[in-house]
Each structure stands twice: as structure tokens, then as C-alpha cells.
């Protein structure tokens, strides 16, 4: 994976290094964290941030404890994809640290989503970030390798390739943003116009793409299938416009 490292990952690397370097320099605070259990150290991170102070040293110490389990998660994802190298572990760990700091700390709610009613551990939360960072990375790598423009320069980072990787990363972000927007619009369609949503789902999500098949699937007339899909399209488009505008503002 390092051979086709995108600029995004390069940025991640330098960010995570910054956290690690700081934690490395601050030897005394690091050693003072050693006696704290994960939960207490995590609380310290949250309270330090809430007070507007720099929590990088504590975050560095906390994430360092999870480096080895993170490596296990990465290797298991690699096994699923039948790809990857040992070098990827460090890179994906750093990517996960970045996500944890930038978004994860604010998103962590302390309640388990998988087991409602139970407390979630920050470690599990972090390892999920690692897991999805790895899946994202290997999906992107697959896209890169399958991209016909990659050509012979796969193992270098020429300006052309870097520019191309930037383009791909941007395209990927746009695609993900568009997908999120689509599903939010579709969820609204399901709430406000369930019949239209069912027709749209049959026609487009389940690839029936034929009003006779769609009508049969839903137990409605062909004319009704056509009407519902047309109405769904108009509503979805309206919702996309409204959601996109809200997102921008």
C-alpha cells in the first residue's frame, strides 16, 4: 500500500507523527499516565480538551496502548482482502489516530451501539476506526490499481501520479459525500412517501429496472409502478437539493 500512497495518507502520516512526537518528547507526563487505566486516561483527554488545553500528550499515550491490537485488526482486514504489507500497519494506525482526534473524540458517546445499555470502551471505539480506515484504504487501493490511468508509474510518486492521486482522493470524497446525501434523501422519502420509496427501491436498488417486473414485485399495476417511480424521482431530487443546501450552509 505504501507504494501507492495518496497525498491524503501522507498528510495523515505527518499529523499522527506530530501527536506521537509530542508524546515522545514529553517523557514525564507519559510516564505519569502509565498508572491510569484506559477509561481514566480517556476521561483526562476529554476534560483537557473541554478546558481548551492541549491534550496531544495524553492522546498519544492512550493510542500507543492500542497500537498492537490495532495491528491485529489491520492484519485481519488484510486477510479479508488478501493484500497488504506490514508497513501498512503503522500508516493505518496513524490514519486512525488522526480520525480519532479530529472526529472520533467528539463522536464518542460512551454507550455501546452494538450492545445497547452497555458501556462502550474507548479502545473498542478506536479499533473500529482502525478497522474502517483499513477497509477504506484497501478499497481505495483497489480503485487505484484498477484505474487505467495508473500505468507504469505505480511504484513512484511523480508529480503526475500525485496529482492523479489527489484527483482520485477528491473524487472518492465527493462520491462518499454524494452517497451519504443520497441515503439521507432516501430515508426522508421512506418517511414521507413510503409507497414511492418502495417502488424506487425495487426499480433502482434491486435493479429490476422494468416496470412490469417492478409492478409484479410490489403487487401493483404497471401504470402505478411508473407513476410511483416518477414521483419518487421528483421527491428525491427535491430532497437532494434541500439536503445539499443545508449541508453547504
Amino acid at each position: 500500500m505504501a507504494a501507492v500512497r495518496t497525498p491524503m495518507l501522507t498528510v495523515n502520516l505527518s499529523y499522527a507523527s506530530r501527536v506521537s512526537v509530542r508524546s515522545g518528547r514529553a517523557r514525564s507526563p507519559m510516564s505519569s499516565f502509565a498508572s491510569l487505566p484506559d477509561a481514566e486516561l480517556f476521561e483526562l483527554v476529554l476534560s483537557t480538551r473541554a478546558a481548551g488545553r492541549d491534550a496531544n500528550t495524553a492522546i498519544g499515550a492512550l493510542c500507543e496502548r492500542w497500537r498492537r491490537p490495532a495491528g491485529v485488526v489491520v492484519r485481519r482486514i488484510q486477510a479479508s482482502y488478501r493484500t497488504g504489507s506490514p508497513d501498512d500497519e503503522a500508516e493505518l494506525y496513524q490514519e486512525a489516530v488522526r480520525k480519532f482526534v479530529e472526529k472520533g473524540l467528539d463522536q464518542f458517546r460512551g454507550a455501546s451501539e452494538v450492545h445497547p445499555g452497555q458501556a462502550a470502551s474507548p479502545k473498542t471505539f478506536f479499533l473500529r476506526i482502525v478497522k474502517h480506515a483499513a477497509i477504506d484504504a484497501y478499497r481505495k487501493q483497489r480503485d487505484l490499481l484498477e484505474d487505467p490511468h495508473e500505468g507504469d508509474e505505480e511504484h513512484s510518486e511523480s508529480p503526475h501520479q500525485v496529482g492523479h492521486a489527489v484527483g482520485l482522493a477528491r473524487r472518492e470524497e465527493e462520491r462518499e459525500g454524494a452517497a451519504d446525501l443520497y441515503w439521507a434523501a432516501f430515508a426522508r422519502l421512506e418517511r414521507e412517501h413510503p409507497n414511492e420509496a418502495s417502488a424506487w427501491e425495487a426499480y433502482h436498488h434491486l435493479d429490476l429496472e422494468d416496470h412490469e417486473a417492478c409492478a409484479k414485485h410490489l403487487g401493483i399495476t404497471v401504470a402505478n409502478s411508473y407513476k410511483r417511480v416518477s414521483r419518487a424521482q421528483a421527491h428525491l431530487r427535491l430532497f437532494l437539493m434541500e439536503l445539499d443546501e443545508t449541508r453547504e450552509t
Binding site: I135, D180, R237
Partner: protein, 276 residues
């Protein structure tokens, strides 16, 4: 055959009622609301006054002088902002339904209903204009209008099917009243939206409009983002992990993964690698 100007016919009754109100003493809040509305309608439409804009004071002032201040404020207090907001929201929904209607009759029914509800909002603007003319503090009404209008101007794209009639209404308003009348004015030139919603080819007029209208360009871009899911997104994968994926999302995932190896591997990885 040319008949009387429909706008003038519509306001004939206003002229008669305002003349009848002049010289009386109006203490009933409901009656006060009627007179305030009619007076305000004409204050905001100088071209529709009986004898042109110069005659405003002769026609309107005596009628407004008949409305007691307490009756005017009591009328404002009687307005139910939440109900009025629901009415206005209904107008937006009805206008969108009019665009999707199967028959001419159905389309007319929805469009007429929507326009009537938009007129209700316009009447409130008239009441405000009349209060200001009468030097009655409009603050209480402004607070209700804030509740009624919240976020609605941004949804004016839903009114596209009414645009020709909205433009007619807008043209009757004086220039300074047009700016605030989002119910008639916002996106009133954006007829291209109808083609965008229904995925019809743009006609030449639509194309010309789209070339110069930033709002329509933005909307066209938004619908271009996604009209169907292409792959299982990272967000859906996280939702599967969290147990938060909806039944619809899971049906799509199961179906799509059968024909897309890349997504199948990703879904399998999410399910196989347990970090708990």
C-alpha cells in the same frame, strides 16, 4: 375579446368595503383584521388603488382611522402562528403535488389551493403594512411572522409550478413590497426546475435561464450527485458495524454485493472482523 383587468376586478370589493368602513368605529378584532388586510393590500399595490397612487390617503386613511388600536392589536393576538405555518407548508406541498398531478383537473385543484394559501401569507404582509401606516407597533406580528416563515423562503423551489401566477401576483406589488414577498417572488423565474425535478430535457428557455441562474445551477448539481446508489458506501459499512443500517440499506447491500466483488469483500470484512 378583452375584458376588465382581472386584478382590478379582484380589488373592486376592497374599494367598496373600505369606503363602507370609513367613518365607522371598528372594535371587533375580526372585522379589524379584514379592514387592515384590504387597506394593506392596496397600500402595497399602488396600481390597484381606485384612482391611482395619489389617492391612497383618500381611500385608505379614513378606513384605517376607523380601526381602533386595541382592535388591531387584538386581531394580531388572535393569529395562530403554528396553524398559519402549517397552512403555508401545505401550500408548498400542494404546489409540488400540482407538478406531479396526472390530470389537468387535479393539477388545477392543487395549484389553486396552493395559491390561496400563499395569499394568506400575503394578507399578513398587508396587515403589517396597514399597522405601520396607522403607526401601530408591528412587533407582535413580526414575532408571529418569524415563526410562520422560518426556513420557508429556502423551500421556494417547491413552488415552481405556480411561477406564471406568482409572477403575475408579484407584478402587482410595489417595488418595495416585492423584496419581502418570498411567497410570490423567490425562484419565481426558475421554471427550469420543473424539467430538473422530472428529468425532462431542458427547453431553450430553461437552458438560457440555467446559464445565468446560480440557484438553479446549484440545484442541478445537487441532483446530479446521486440518483441511485452506485456502491456500498463507507457510511453504510459503518452503519452495518454499528447495527444502525436500515432494512432498506441492508436489502441494497445484500443485493448489490451479489454482483460487486469489491463491495462483497468490504461487507464481509466488516462482518468477519470483530473488535469488541
Amino acid at each position: 375579446m378583452s375584458g376588465p383587468d382581472p386584478a382590478n376586478v379582484r380589488f373592486d370589493q376592497h374599494h367598496a368595503d373600505l369606503r363602507a368602513a370609513a367613518g365607522t368605529s371598528i372594535v371587533d378584532p375580526e372585522r379589524a383584521g379584514v379592514v387592515l388586510t384590504m387597506a394593506g393590500d392596496l397600500l402595497r399595490r399602488s396600481a390597484c388603488r381606485a384612482s391611482g397612487s395619489d389617492e391612497a390617503s383618500k381611500e385608505i386613511e379614513p378606513a384605517l382611522a376607523a380601526v381602533g388600536r386595541e382592535a388591531a392589536l387584538a386581531y394580531v393576538a388572535s393569529l395562530d402562528a403554528k396553524r398559519l405555518r402549517a397552512t403555508l407548508l401545505g401550500a408548498f406541498e400542494d404546489a409540488f403535488e400540482a407538478m406531479l398531478a396526472d390530470t389537468k383537473e387535479e393539477r388545477s385543484l392543487f395549484a389553486d389551493g396552493a395559491l390561496l394559501a400563499l395569499s394568506t401569507r400575503d394578507h399578513l404582509a398587508s396587515v403589517r403594512a396597514a399597522l405601520v401606516w396607522s403607526e401601530v407597533d408591528p412587533a407582535a406580528l413580526d414575532e408571529k411572522l418569524r415563526i410562520i416563515d422560518e426556513g420557508l423562503a429556502a423551500r421556494a423551489r417547491m413552488l415552481a409550478v405556480l411561477n406564471p401566477r406568482r409572477r403575475d401576483e408579484l407584478s402587482l406589488l410595489d417595488a418595495d413590497a416585492r423584496g419581502e414577498a418570498f411567497w410570490f417572488g423567490d425562484r419565481a423565474g426558475c421554471d427550469a426546475l420543473l424539467a430538473i425535478y422530472t428529468n425532462r430535457p431542458l427547453n431553450k428557455g430553461d437552458e438560457a435561464h440555467l446559464a445565468s441562474c446560480e440557484a438553479c445551477q446549484r440545484d442541478a448539481k445537487s441532483v446530479g450527485y446521486a440518483v441511485r446508489p452506485a456502491h456500498v458506501s463507507a457510511m453504510i459499512l459503518r452503519r452495518i458495524e454499528d447495527g444502525a443500517a436500515t432494512a432498506t440499506e441492508l436489502r441494497f447491500v445484500e443485493h448489490h454485493a451479489k454482483g460487486c466483488k469489491a463491495c462483497a469483500v468490504a461487507v464481509e470484512a466488516v462482518r468477519a472482523v470483530d473488535v469488541d
